[in-house]
Amino acid sequence: MQSKTPSLIGAGLALALFLAVALLPSMLYGGYAGVLLAGGIFGTPLEPTFLVRALIVFGIVLGVAGVGSLFAVMGAAAGAGVGALTSLAARKPAAQEASPE
């Protein structure tokens, strides 16, 4: 549809921001979601069994993937928006040139 480059740049910048400010908290939120789920499935107090740990790690992975995706998507959408605006601005003079012919 359009060049992917602006959205890739946007997503890249957003991911860098994610790594800088949001990686650790999203690991914690995800891990805590895992802890709560594990509590429901295996009962509290949680014993650090393999399955419990696996579920918490799963939560961490999803937390990171989820918040990371949110950053990436917002960044890509912003990039695509900027890309669309600049290409529009670039195209306008060309259209004006073309009209008198």
Binding site: S7, L62, V73, A76
Partner: protein, 570 residues
């Protein structure tokens, strides 16, 4: 000599800074030896001078009655009555563990003096559960005045705090500081067990809705004394008694009065929503338990399955990339497009997505702000400071709560719009029955996964909505019913508690949190992957903006629909 030098120095200091707070009469004699560096245990003169006692002219000997320089040379102190002696020897025996070290009362006699000037408080305290250890032998030493107020040499005036439902009041800083002191005992597992108290009192409070609100910076959510202090005219915090005592403000019979300090119209059933227990245990009813377990399984299994689906899809996409031939220019079909979603559908989706993102980013930081305790892997860490920092974007915790409600309104608008839209379509007999799930979807799902894994050669041929899209749609349908339904209960808790049983409300609280986990993780991971981050689609499937799908994509993703449309055109 040293004493003279010291007093000289003090004199110089006080003339040099005339506006410095003055010490009460007689105190300087004592401070000759009791200033830092003196012979006796130090009482920091600056701190004391600024304390409310020194400011009101209460001097050393007003509390340390009968003390003269003599005591340093083994002089005797005034004799005590039997009752006083008993009180003092209980204080002498007492010790507490603070961190690693044991602490004892440094000057037990001084506590006899408080009642001379603070009768109201000492009387209330003398009848409270906290002074039981001073009336009879106990396994552990409970609090003295200093356990809550800190050193009597540094005491400051307590801020006025009497929250009313109509005029909520931010919790003053001193009550927050005091909550830490309550927890030094009630949050200490060994101490609580020895005292026969609930060792979970502090943890369950922090994990409760109130505790988490406080942890993310809500200024109004209650600290310990907000609920536990008796009414001010009945002794306040000094009059705390056992919860089984009918005079206790948290006794089952009175509890609603504690809640009514902030929640207008609190009833007994509302009051039973919070009791230092996990939500599923609070009411003792089995339904919240079952719901907790069912939702834990539902969330875990759903997320496991879709994480697997995303992974398989991603590997498939990577393999396709490697295989893809270079120089494959855009075909006509890649440029031609057809309308897939009309403007109503797109508007519904815009409301939905902005609402859900807003709800997710304002709700999750609160949910994640519980205590991790010694949970595996994340134990000992704390996400609350991050939540608090993040919520500043929304103007703090109260602001985030407000935006959360804005998000709720957005998805409600979307849902109502959608229902009207469906009714309209139904009236025209144009209901899109293609959205209904059928047995073909299960087969498609199996075949698609096998195809992506490379086991099957042929991709299943999808109709207008493939199984992922149907799941997205129906999951939102279900999710909205769950989240809006339960969210509403917590928007107006006292109203619902007036007629709904408390286990139902507790169940709603559980569902709201656990369904949110499922919804947000599903949308941010699985849905975002399928419509944005999938390499062949990145940066996005533009249909949400322009409603269009390219003919090429349609042939590929929805061949059955494409063929039907081509047939219609023939």
């Amino acid at each position: 000599m040293r004493a003279i030098l010291l007093s000289f120095a003090l004199l110089l200091a006080s003339t040099a800074r005339a506006d410095e707070p003055k010490l009460p009469k007689g105190s300087d004699t004592c401070l000759q030896c009791h200033s830092p560096g003196g012979d006796g245990p130090a009482v920091p003169p600056d701190t004391f001078a600024k304390s409310i006692h020194a400011q009101n002219g209460v001097g050393c000997t007003d509390c340390h009655a009968g003390y003269t320089e003599e005591h340093a040379m083994g002089g005797t102190l005034p004799a005590l009555s039997d009752a006083e002696q008993k009180f003092v020897s209980r204080l002498e025996k007492a010790s507490w563990v603070e961190g690693e070290k044991k602490v004892k009362v440094a000057s037990p006699r001084a506590y006899l003096a408080c009642q001379n000037c603070h009768t109201e408080q000492t009387d209330a305290f003398a009848a409270s559960v906290h002074s039981k250890w001073l009336r009879e032998d106990a396994k552990v030493a409970g609090p003295t005045c200093a356990s809550c107020h800190g050193s009597p040499h540094a005491v400051q005036a307590m801020a006025f705090y009497e929250p009313k439902a109509g005029a909520r009041q931010p919790v003053p800083e001193d009550r927050r500081a005091m909550a830490k002191r309550c927890e030094a005992c009630h949050g200490n597992e060994e101490f609580a067990k020895e005292a026969g108290l609930n060792p979970e009192a502090a943890v369950t409070y922090h994990d409760s809705i109130h505790g988490r609100l406080v942890r993310v910076g809500n200024a109004y959510a209650p600290v310990c004394v907000s609920c536990h202090a008796a009414p001010a005219n009945r002794g306040g915090t000094h009059a705390i008694v056992s919860k089984i005592d009918p005079n206790s403000i948290v006794n089952v019979k009175n509890r609603k009065d504690a809640c009514a300090r902030c929640h207008a119209g609190a009833t007994d059933s509302f009051a039973s929503l919070i009791a230092h227990k996990t939500p599923q245990e609070t009411t003792g009813h089995p339904v919240p338990h079952i719901i907790h377990i069912v939702f834990s399984y539902l969330t875990t299994l759903t997320l496991l399955f879709f994480a697997f689906h995303v992974l398989v899809d991603f590997i498939y996409e990577l393999r396709q990339r490697v295989k893809a031939k270079a120089g494959h220019g855009p075909s006509v079909d890649a440029v031609r497009s057809v309308i897939r979603f009309d403007i109503h559908q797109r508007i519904q989706h815009w409301f939905m997505l902005s609402g859900v993102i807003l709800l997710g980013i304002t709700g999750w930081p609160l949910r994640g702000a519980g205590t991790f305790g010694n949970a595996p892997i994340i134990g000992g860490r704390d996400a609350a400071p991050y939540s608090e920092a993040f919520m500043k974007i929304f103007g703090g915790a109260e602001g985030a709560a407000l935006w959360h409600r804005v998000g709720a309104v957005l998805i409600i608008i979307s849902s109502v719009y959608h229902l009207f839209y469906l009714t309209f379509l139904a009236a025209q007999k144009r209901l899109p029955l293609s959205m209904l799930p059928g047995p073909k979807d299960a087969l498609d799902m199996r075949d698609n996964i096998l195809f992506m894994l490379g086991v099957k050669k042929e991709r299943p041929r999808f109709d207008r909505y493939m199984y992922l899209e149907k799941f997205d749609y129906w999951a939102v349908f279900w999710g909205i019913v769950m989240m809006v339904g339960t969210g509403f209960i917590f928007w107006f808790p006292a109203f619902f508690a007036a007629w709904a049983p408390s286990w139902l409300i507790t169940a709603a609280l559980i569902i709201h949190g656990e369904e949110a986990t499922l919804a947000i993780l599903f949308l941010f991971v699985v849905h975002f992957y399928n419509v944005h981050l999938k390499p062949s689609i990145f940066p996005m499937n533009w249909a949400w903006l322009n409603g269009r799908i390219s003919v090429e994509m349609m042939k590929h993703e929805h061949p059955l629909e494409y063929e039907r449309m081509s047939d219609d055109h023939k």
